[in-house]
């Protein structure tokens, strides 16, 4: 069983990206044996109101059992609480909020309210550290990358928050994990999409120091080749049980309360 928590659909404003439709995603999932994808709407990350992408996303994925939507919430816009209240009643695994892409202060009052609201609804919050390598971004693509301090801050706002963070590198993860209490750190799950395999072996080291339980499978497709996330797992040579925890098992912990309620 492989669940990809880091999937985007729709066009990207800063360069041509093939394979951005749901049909292409279905092909890619078949090619790589991915059983389920957590799908976010890529264009609306850059819209003034990212929540306007939710309706399309929910409708487009409604007949696709292998694709589950992750609606976006912008806590700086009027009425965001009502949108959150609406979408958490649907069969979704998480909501996403990309504060810096929305132009929000990641540690400002809007994000603190968002964190508290997610904790209150008992729904995991998904966010990306980045979408592309900073050295290649379009001149107009200037949103700051998420900082490790932002994530540490959110974890301290509400003890009920559960976070899924994508596109984080080794240093980021170590800074949050060892800069948090064990209880705080146990509420973050990291996708493997931005972690290096051999010969630097960042992922292997993190599995030893931070622990297998903290990692989930994510590709970042179609902005990134989904083959990369599988390749790094293949090269690890993990016991089947540990591999399963990363590809699907750990999410059951992340989602347990959410799914029980629904």
């Amino acid at each position: 069983m492989i669940i990809d928590v880091n999937v985007l659909v729709g066009s990207y404003p800063f360069r041509r990206v093939p394979g951005s439709s749901l049909g292409h995603l279905a092909e890619s999932m078949t090619r790589l044996g991915i059983d389920q994808a957590w799908v976010s709407h890529l264009p609306s990350i850059f819209w003034r109101d990212p929540m306007e992408g939710n309706e399309w996303l929910l409708k487009a994925t409604s007949d696709m059992v292998a694709m589950v939507p992750v609606p976006a919430i912008h806590p700086g816009l009027p009425g965001w609480e009502a949108e959150l209240d609406r979408v958490v009643r649907l069969p979704i695994p998480a909501v996403r909020c990309d504060a810096s892409f929305y132009g929000l202060d990641p540690v400002g009052e809007e994000m603190r309210a968002m964190v508290r609201a997610c904790a209150g609804h008992d729904i995991p919050l998904l966010t990306a550290v980045r979408l592309e390598d900073g050295r290649q971004r379009h001149p107009h693509d200037r949103a700051p990358e998420l900082a490790a301090a932002d994530v540490r801050s959110w974890l301290r706002v509400d003890a009920g928050l559960r976070l899924v963070v994508t596109h984080a590198d080794r240093a980021f993860i170590e800074e949050v994990h060892f800069g948090s209490t064990p209880s705080e750190a146990s509420r973050v799950w990291w996708d493997v999409s931005w972690l290096w395999g051999p010969p630097e072996d960042h992922l292997q080291q993190l599995l030893e120091t931070v622990g297998v339980d903290r990692f989930v499978f994510g590709t970042g497709q179609p902005l990134r080749l989904p083959e990369a996330a599988l390749a790094k797992l293949d090269l690890l040579g993990l016991p089947a049980e540990d591999r399963h925890r990363i590809t699907a098992g750990n999410l059951s912990t992340c989602l347990s309360r959410t799914t029980e309620e629904r």
């Binding site: 390598d133 290096w196 010969p199 990134r224 080749l225 990369a228 390749a231 090269l235």
Partner: protein
Amino acid sequence: MGRPGGDATMLIDVHAHFYHDRTPRQDWRARNESRLRAGEQMGITLHIASILGSWGATSPTYFPSPADLDYANRWMLDLQRAGPDRIAGYVAVNPNFQRHALEQIDHYLGEGMVGIKLAASRRADDPLLDPVCRAAADHQVPILHHVWQHRGRDWPGQEASDAVELVALAERHPDTNFIMAHIAGGGDWLHSLRAVRGVDNVHVDLSGSGVDGGMLEACLEAVGVDRLVWGADITLDTGLAKSRYLEHLLDGDDVERVRWKNAAVLFGLPVARETTS
């Protein structure tokens, strides 16, 4: 699970690195071993590698001193001799020390190394690089040239070149083959691909940590199958991903060309001659 690299028979990494005992990294031995171990898993048949001086211990990585280069090249040659079936070496030089650079090239290519590595000690279009390029043509070996894809400005710690500057050099030396390093190693790869599109003696190395969707398609569109060579640099996992995706994009023989045949011809490896004959 089968071999992660699939069933293809050969795979040549044209952009590998090793470390030695005088680098700042205490884990240098583990990193070398990890590269070889992962290479075996992936089916890499030949690592063509360089060592960039002392990797910063006694001179900067991208501005290595002559003494550091000689030590590193000697170490690289020893690695090649210890595993000639799976390791081959580039002789790394700093063109600011021109006489030393040419001596290193003559010596280490004479000892059996297979290419020249130019990193970022001097801009690619600088005339100081001309004697190095002539030496490469004389010895019939390619130059792997470090490139910052659309560098835009100077970056700390290196005098990086971009594809436009490498193309200027390549056009002055039509008899020398160049490998533009790590298209996926950071920066605007679309800018680089536009620059090298019509320049037949510049080959594109696929290495680097980037695995951007659309990058391989853009590479194929810009330079075709014949001028792409597979490499990994310091992330073998992304190299494996690109190899797998190529199998999705291309037919059998075209995949083989990118995986190893183009490299075998560029480096004049015996296997290329056998294949041709």
